[in-house]
Amino acid sequence: MITKVLMPKLSEAMETGKVIKWLKKEGDAIKGGDVIAEVETDKANVEIEAFGSGVLRKISVDAGGQVPVGALIGIIADPSDDISSVSTAAPKPAAPKPAAAPAAAPAAAPAAPAPAPLPAMETYKSEPATTSVMPMAPASAAAVPSAPAKPVAASGARLKVSPLARKIAAQSGVDLRLLQGSGPGGRIIRRDVESAVTAPRPGAAAQPAPAPARPTAVPSRPAFVIPPRPAAEFEDLPLTPMRAIIAKRMPLSKGPVPHFYVTSEVAMDRAWELREELNSLDGQPKISVNDLVIKACGLALRKNPGVNAQLNGQAIRVHHRAHIGVAVSLDAGLITPVLRDCDIKPLGQIAVESRDLAERARAGKLRVQELTGATFSISNLGMFDVEEFSAIINPPEGAILAVGSVLEKPVVVDGAVAVGRRLKLTIACDHRVMDGAMGARFLQDVKRLLEEPLRLMV
């Protein structure tokens, strides 16, 4: 069997990816699930797993090579398989030939660093073949989103882009479809691309801030010391690639997606007790409040499929699985790894997996499929002692739950004031997909599950 290893598409905005290193050599035997390479995308470094077994017959893109999403980067096959047809006819999904570089294009034109041509989005006419973009479905194949979401610009619609803007976008991996043109008639011009260009790579951006100047010792005047501060009034920090993507993506949610918000207060006293009890058990994974919320959401999503839904062109796609993106904040921004099948996983497993995802997200060790396919998201700022907040939907998902802190506050119980633990949850919903009552019913179910937490255990 021949398995193509393709550059995965990890986000709407992702246009190209770079092979950081190969962990296997040509000729190495590969088992399904082996981590074979690391890939750097605009948002994160991820590991690529093999989904077919055999021998790594060919590495098409060496370490350091940057190629469009969907481009062939390697071939896994049995030693006896003839791979010549595969290796010569590399698929070019999402990467039609650049319009500006026809066959007769001069050789001296700035060359693409990779064998595959760089994408020219203006000529983007057909949807990429689904199978070639996402061939490496994990074992639970049904769990993976069936198709990459449509480009933001109506597919087939001609993008108005200046030649220079197109060239800079191709060289810097900016997805023109995500940009708002500021030229005449909405034409995308250089300025638009440059402001979206991912500035320095993470390596450069992650340089430690210069150590603050040591305060000069003034022993005689200890009373009032102004902490040292830079001489300049301000400084402009370059956007990290991740920040640039967030900056690009969020207006595409908040702008076009009509958000509505529903907030509910949950009595967490019983859940708190249950959690303390569970966490006192020897040899059991530690459960966080967020794990309880994840589990409750998983169950509530199953009961309220209308919230586990997204707008898909002219249809509303209702998901039959509850894959929850759990926002993890990083120094450079945030990332949302996906915890799959939260409705059926036991609480303990959710706790183990969510901790593992968060740790690997911070270490930049997430795998491809762990970043895609969420049907719903949760953002928790509880650790910052916030009472409540509202979050921005992560398209194409239809809703996101914002989780505040569990706070002790005076509550009225049986006509008397007592101290209770309360948690405020705010769901942001895409009004094109669902209505207020649906969001409220979902929240009501989450509240009930948390207030009667044994329901989370059965």
Binding site: A100, A105, P106, A109, P110, P163, L164, K167, I168, I189
Partner: protein
């Protein structure tokens, strides 16, 4: 008398003022214009247009001088400088009348006289027939600029003249010292030299046309010198004294002092904004280095008061003023105009050979940290130029090495001022080298040099 009401009052009818007035009228606004000279401003009356007529004369004289080259034998000829001036006056008169016609066509009222701002909506016009008061919901100031001099030197328009005197004077000096080797200085040096005047050009900076690309300056300096014009750069002018035998200019170069004598001195050291006597101070209009400070939509620090053209600074060029006039008019009409792109204003000098440029010089591009590729094509290798007998000069393209962005284009040669617009359009559309090379250029044309220089920037020039 009660104030007359208009939507817009435009003070000054040079290229900035008359264009903004017409654009306002097109957008349905009622417009009054105020002019203390003749409609058309310096450009049509005393600047761009009459000098182009004079330069055409110089070109014709130049061709007569080269008649032998074309196999035409002349038994001597006489070039009458006074008639050259007269012709240029006729050309200017005709263009100025054109502006009056356009005003009538667009129902724009013209109030002759000097305008004075009484408030941010009121202009008092002091004309021959007394004082009139105009009320405008918005006011556009477009009073232009006037020639500057050096400290301690008075322009008397007799022995020390400015371009204003030069375009009017029918007298031809035997010798002339031009102070300043910018566009104005080089153009007049060309005209006078063509008519046999002994011309010396003095420039304080190290090269002529100092804002142009260094290669352009070097080429023009060489060609003028070869033609017999004394070109002296890096020269500091100390004083200008008038005596019986004309004018004496004390100069200092490389630490050595000397005196130069000539019949006439032409002061071409730049222009200053005309902002005096307009009432700007009373309204608190902000100025910066003598020019009115404006927003991207040309509004001054006073709401509803706009300033365009030379008085608003940046490039003192008629076409820049026109572009600003359109922006101001559209802003007033609520059209949300695109601001002028000051990095994409062509610069043209109409001496022989002509000079034109757009964008950054090679040195500027490198100083801006761009990795550049440069393509050059000499007109000696261009068929049309050889056929015309106009082979002096070259076309130089400066582009970004990785993206092919057209950073700057610099042309010396026949019709350079026409050729530049291919690149002006290209830059506006954000074309790259590739779009130019995929554009078929007719053969034989001077424009082929544009194609070839672009190819050269990619290492693919065919004809060199």
């Amino acid at each position: 008398m009660a104030a007359q009401q208009f939507d817009v009052v435009v003070v000054g009818t040079g290229p900035g003022g008359y264009v903004s007035a017409i654009r306002c009228a097109q957008l349905g606004l009622t417009v009054a214009t105020v002019e203390d000279d003749r409609p058309g401003g310096v450009c049509l009356n005393w600047g761009c247009i009459p000098t182009k007529a004079l330069l055409r004369n110089a070109e014709v004289v130049g061709l007569f001088n080269r008649a032998e080259e074309f196999g035409i034998r002349l038994k001597g000829f006489e070039a009458d400088y006074a008639q050259a001036i007269q012709r240029s006056r006729k050309v200017a008169d005709r263009m100025a009348k054109g502006v009056e016609f356009l005003f009538r066509k667009n129902k724009i009222a013209l109030f002759p006289g000097a305008g004075l701002l009484k408030s941010r909506t009121t202009v008092e016009v002091k004309g021959k027939d007394g004082v009139q008061t105009l009320e405008g919901k918005a006011i556009i100031l477009a009073t232009g600029s006037e020639p500057k001099s050096l400290p301690g030197v008075t322009i008397d328009e007799k022995t020390v003249i400015s371009s204003n005197g030069a375009v009017r004077s029918e007298a031809k000096p035997r010798s002339l010292i031009v102070i300043g080797a910018g566009a104005v200085g080089m153009e007049f040096a060309d005209v006078y030299a063509a008519y046999g005047v002994e011309v010396t050009v003095l420039e304080a900076l190290p090269r002529v046309l100092p804002i142009e690309d260094e290669e352009v300056s070097a080429q023009i300096g060489r060609l003028f010198t070869r033609r017999g014009v004394a070109v002296r750069t890096g020269v500091k002018v100390g004083s200008v004294g008038t005596g019986k035998a004309g004018v004496t200019v004390a100069v200092e170069a490389e630490g050595r002092k000397e005196s130069l004598n000539a019949d006439l001195v032409l002061m071409a050291v730049g222009r200053a904004a005309r902002t005096k006597g307009l009432g700007l101070e009373a309204l608190g209009v902000a100025l910066e280095r003598g020019f009115v400070t404006v927003s991207p939509t040309m509004e001054t620090s006073v709401k509803g008061l706009y300033a365009i053209g030379d008085m608003a600074g940046r490039q003192l060029l008629a076409h820049k003023a026109m572009a600003e006039g359109v922006v101001a008019a559209e802003a007033i009409a609520g059209r949300g105009p695109r601001p002028v792109d000051y990095g994409n204003v062509p610069s043209c000098t109409y001496c022989r050979p002509q000079v034109a440029s757009i964008g950054q010089t090679e040195a500027q591009a490198r100083a801006n940290g761009r990795e550049v590729t440069v393509g050059r094509f000499p007109f000696t290798a261009n068929g049309k130029a050889v056929a015309l007998g106009e082979t002096e000069g070259f076309l130089k393209v400066v582009a970004d090495k990785t993206t092919g962005e057209l950073l700057g284009v610099h042309i010396v040669g026949a019709e350079a001022t026409e050729l530049i617009h291919e690149f002006a359009v290209g830059r506006t559309l954000e074309a790259t080298l590739e779009e130019i090379i995929h554009t078929i250029h007719a053969h034989p044309t001077l424009s082929e040099a544009a194609l070839e220089a672009t190819l050269a920037a990619l290492g693919q020039a065919i004809h060199i």
